[in-house]
């Protein structure tokens, strides 16, 4: 019983972190058809910035978190303009290569700045303790991650389903040419979505630092996991990314607790089963990237 509970808690918080990091990639992939392998780099930049602000400058966690996330969001805007615009409409491979190159530059940058050691992010006392639910006590950090993940999901739902921007976004994902013909500035929608996705990745990177430690090679180390969530969820879908992230997070955590001898095999077996049955992912539509 205790183990089942631990698996559920750790799996859910791992899944929520994966969701926050991957959802931006899923949506931008649906929107612009750009396979952005550098997406994990934004989580790294957020984590590295957070490390610099809290650990080196001694800022309080509550202040450093929004500053880091906002900074990454703002950094992403010019990057979209310089690096990604020329890639729209190019082949899979060109995009993969360019974004791997960009990932290498991000790794090299953080490596040059901080070296290759783990970049710790000290938690404030309020997140370090445990919370008593009567039945059991839970680590506050895990609970905070799960709550934040649900808030992000809710906010994205509201943004996409209930606002004018959401209408533009959905229209651009469905049919870019028709959306442009109706006067929607798709370039602007692309840039805003890209920056938002980068900001969420930074948020996920910082909050998930307990489970996925921040270090220079972070974008490569977790690249496969992040892409797996997007591929299983089906691109361009917030719900798909959420289901995939939670499912893969729970499967991976359960396998690590219950059958540690098999390592990550179950994670990839699940990936293969889903993609063999539904090559477009869980929510996927029948078109290619």
């Amino acid at each position: 019983m205790g183990m089942v509970f631990n698996i559920a808690l750790d799996g859910l918080s791992y899944g929520m972190v994966l969701f926050m990091i991957s959802v931006g990639l899923s949506v931008t992939l649906g929107l612009m058809r750009v396979i952005n392998l550098a997406h994990g780099g934004f989580a790294l930049l957020g984590g590295a910035l957070m490390h610099g602000l809290t650990f080196q400058l001694g800022w309080p966690f509550a202040l450093a978190l929004p500053v880091s996330v906002l900074s990454v969001t703002l950094i992403a805007l010019p990057m979209e303009y310089v690096f990604f615009r020329p890639l729209y409409g190019k082949g899979d491979l060109t995009q993969v290569l360019a974004t791997i190159g960009l990932t290498f530059l991000m790794i090299a940058f953080v490596n040059w700045l901080y070296g290759s050691a783990l970049l710790g992010i000290p938690l404030p006392p309020s997140l370090r303790g445990t919370v008593d639910l009567g039945l059991r006590t839970l680590p506050v950090q895990r609970v905070a991650v799960i709550v934040t993940g649900m808030v992000v999901l809710g906010a994205l739902y509201g943004l996409i389903e209930r606002t004018r921007f959401g209408i533009w976004l959905r229209a651009s994902v469905d049919n870019r040419a028709a959306a442009e013909a109706l006067g929607i500035n798709t370039r602007w929608v692309f840039a805003a979505t890209f920056a938002l996705g980068a900001g969420l990745a930074a948020l996920g990177g910082v909050l998930g630092a307990e489970l996925m430690p921040i270090e220079a090679y972070y974008p490569l180390r977790y690249l496969v996991v992040i892409l797996a969530v997007v591929a299983v969820g089906g691109m361009g879908s917030v719900w798909g990314a959420w289901f995939a992230a939670l499912g893969l997070g729970l499967i991976d955590t359960a396998a690590r607790y219950a059958l540690p001898d098999f390592g990550t095999i179950f994670f990839f077996a699940a990936l293969i089963v889903v993609l063999a049955l539904r090559p477009q992912g869980l929510s996927g539509r029948a078109y290619d990237v």
Partner: protein, 319 residues
Amino acid sequence: MFEAWLGRMGAPVALLGVVGLIAFFAFPYDLGFLTRILIMMIFVLSIDLVLGYGGIATLGQAAMYGTGAYAAGLFAVHISANPLLGLLIGAGAGAGVAFLSGLIVLRAHGLGLLMLTIAVAQILHEIANKARVVTGGADGLSGIRMAPLFGRWHFDFIGQTGYLYALAVLVLVMVFLRALCVAPLGLTARGIHESPVRMAAIGVPVYGRRVLIYTIAGGLAGLAGALSAQVTALVSLQVFSFSLSAEAVVMLILGGTGRLWGAIFGTAIFMVIHHLAATADPYNWLFVIGILLLGVVYFIPGGLMGVRQRLRILFGGQG
């Protein structure tokens, strides 16, 4: 006609052999490194077949390379130390894995396909890691001792036999691939790359041909893996790593996809720059390769071989 064919096929490949021999005498103390380049060239050629000719975007070719390496290594340890038999076993194992995984992987497209190729390599990595009794796990498979080649040439410490052996295999692979590219299968692969819909419309079984190309390329990757197991007498878990697949794709793009010589030049240039830069400073190496990649994608999309073609057009020749 046959002579024309021989001239067209033979001359450049012979040149490759000659350059290889010159390197053998020019750098007698770097044969280990040069051998690694040759093996990598075979591996990158196999990716060129999948990606450049077949149009199948893959980041998991290491699955077949690693299978070939472990198959050849285990064969040498437990059954026979004959190097040529070992090569065949490695190539067969690589082709087998490529065929089985290709049946599933090639049903997907785009990102799904890319992810499946990665997943196959990761699963094999995990299996090799956990099957410690058979593979040696994270310590690697050691104790590989090869019998002399053709019963005459011993695999020596300096690596002279290993180098010439790898060079000979590379030249044969190159001849095979040049023949394959002008054979109906090679032309079909190009057609599928250009437009799968049209090829299906004129009656080509697209899925079957893609599986076949993937299987052949898997055999070549297995061959490269087997060579590396035999020459270095060690197989480590690195053979299944994602970074091996990714780096090999980078080498191919650098040289130019869909061109056999692109794979050769790209590998040579990448490995030499890597060797020089990484010994100088590993951080700067990532800067160098990152800028190199972005430069290729944004400024010379056809790779280095594309530059040659453009220059030729610029100076009035035909592309």
